[in-house]
């Protein structure tokens, strides 16, 4: 079985996601040089970036995100586009900060794995539901797509077909599954939560004890009192020459989802090379 990491980037006018994908890939290869990284994108990748990816795939089919500024809708196509039998999908605004080779073994116990709990930079489980009202109010599983895993298998074919249908017909699904509180835009987290709920597979795709998660840097869930909009304005952080990331002088481990685009500087990108 071949395996690898999938990064998904769609052209966007406001942010250089491709640069983030390069940084993410560099961080993976820094700690796990033999791992394969596949970039799925609609961008013509400049030569200087091509060498950072083992595979570069086009986004197939019609663009499902034509009317969306936040180009995530096409992410449901990752399943069919992945060149791997086993895939770990990461958001591009993430950095890998240690070797997670052993995660593959843990993940192989699942056909499909999503994390439903994330951590703060202080290594605490996030309990604040500030950004999760749609999930809480509608009793949807608390899915974070930022990090997930799938095998190529029949059950997952069904799952991702359904997910695609939800994305394409989000308004109808939203009316039915997010009655109590809804959001007008389609987010992959909500669409995935609906798919998991519809298929009743919560017990198969989550783990109650697992360390297979990531540090989520959305500012309102960090258990601090400051009301500043950006965590990068609130907390000191630095990436050392050994690729150790310190946030508030706390060493970060595993997968770090920095969220804020200004986090990744050119200097940091150079350090990761």
């Amino acid at each position: 079985m071949n395996r690898g990491f999938i990064l998904f980037v769609q052209q966007n006018e406001t942010c250089d996601y491709l640069k983030q994908a390069v940084a993410c890939s560099l961080s993976i290869k820094k700690f796990m040089p033999k791992e394969q990284v596949c970039l799925i994108t609609d961008i013509i990748v400049p030569e200087k970036y091509k060498s950072h990816f083992d595979h570069i795939q086009d986004i197939p089919g019609d663009d499902l995100a034509v009317d969306s500024d936040w180009k995530v809708n096409n992410r449901c196509k990752i399943y069919n586009s992945s060149p791997f039998d086993e895939s770990i999908v990461l958001d591009v605004d993430m950095l890998l900060l240690e070797n997670i080779e052993h995660w593959w073994k843990q993940l192989s116990n699942y056909e499909l794995y999503y994390t439903n709990k994330v951590k703060t930079y202080r290594d605490e489980w996030v309990t604040n539901d500030h950004y999760r009202k749609v999930f809480v109010d509608n009793d949807l599983p608390n899915v974070y797509c930022g990090f997930h895993y799938f095998k190529k298998c029949k059950n997952n074919e069904v799952f991702f077909k359904l997910l695609t249908d939800i994305v394409m017909n989000y308004e109808q699904y939203s009316k039915r599954f997010t009655k109590n509180k809804s959001q007008s835009w389609c987010s992959m987290d909500v669409a995935t939560a609906i798919a998991i709920k519809l298929l009743g597979i919560q017990h198969k795709v989550f783990s109650t004890q697992s360390n297979l998660t990531f540090t989520h840097m959305k500012p309102r869930i960090q258990n601090y009192q400051s009301q500043l909009k950006l965590w990068t304005e609130q907390i000191d952080y630095n990436l050392t020459s050994q690729n150790e990331l310190f946030v508030g002088n706390i060493k970060q481990k595993g997968i770090f989802h920095y969220v804020e685009d200004n986090f990744l500087t050119d200097k940091m990108l150079e350090q990761l090379r």
Partner: protein, 270 residues
Amino acid sequence: MTKGVLLFAHNNSTVDYVKQANFCAGQIKKHLDLPVCLITSDKFNEDHNNFNHVIVVEKPSTDQTKRFYNATHSYEDTWNNTSRPDAYSLTPYDETIVMDTDYIVANSNLNKVFESKEDFLINYKAQHVDFESRYTEEMKYVSDTGIEMCWATVFYFKKTERTRILFDLINHIKNEWEFYRFKYQILATNYRNDFAFAIAIHMINDFAKTSWPKQLPSKLFYTTDKDSVDSYVDNKWNFTLERGTKCQIKDMNIHIMNKIGLNKIIDQYE
């Protein structure tokens, strides 16, 4: 392996810490049956006879002050808290419990530390006796965005290479306090042992949270310096809490932060 309790007392014009330490030592002997060593820079009164060892040190030089409250009244005075990091080098025991002189033992729970394989034990949480005061974020972390707090009010250590390094590190943090309080986003300017211990533990754990050190086998209960200390009879403390609530506790170890009020009770008790 020798076992004992270490107390530090440096008087100022507001609080007679040596007198407080003598009372504290009396309770230790009664409930823990352990020898007590006093580290002090002050004149030693022969009436203070609850100590097995007394080590006289030079008065640590400090210019830091704080307000000492006796419920509603307060006094600005010197705060000399800088010798605690020397616990490792000064203790005459192989296994040592260090406690504040205003931490009053009322049961034998702390003796369980000697059954532990751990080389260092401390509290991460503290609980006000009213059980209503929220455990605020301010008490949970050294600063709003900083690391997890620990309470150096009472702790246990045995002499190992790791604890030697820990205390060396605490001394280093004390000496470079300006740098470390900046690095750990601490707003208060005074050196504080709770913070220095938390930082040293964080550093020794490679700047991350780990399962070391574990918690003491005794929860840290406290009353603040805004609470009045009313009486002490038969291992029972009576307090009037800041909001006026009367409160009585019995057979419970307690950190009585109102040092002035505590000393008045000790005067009556003696």
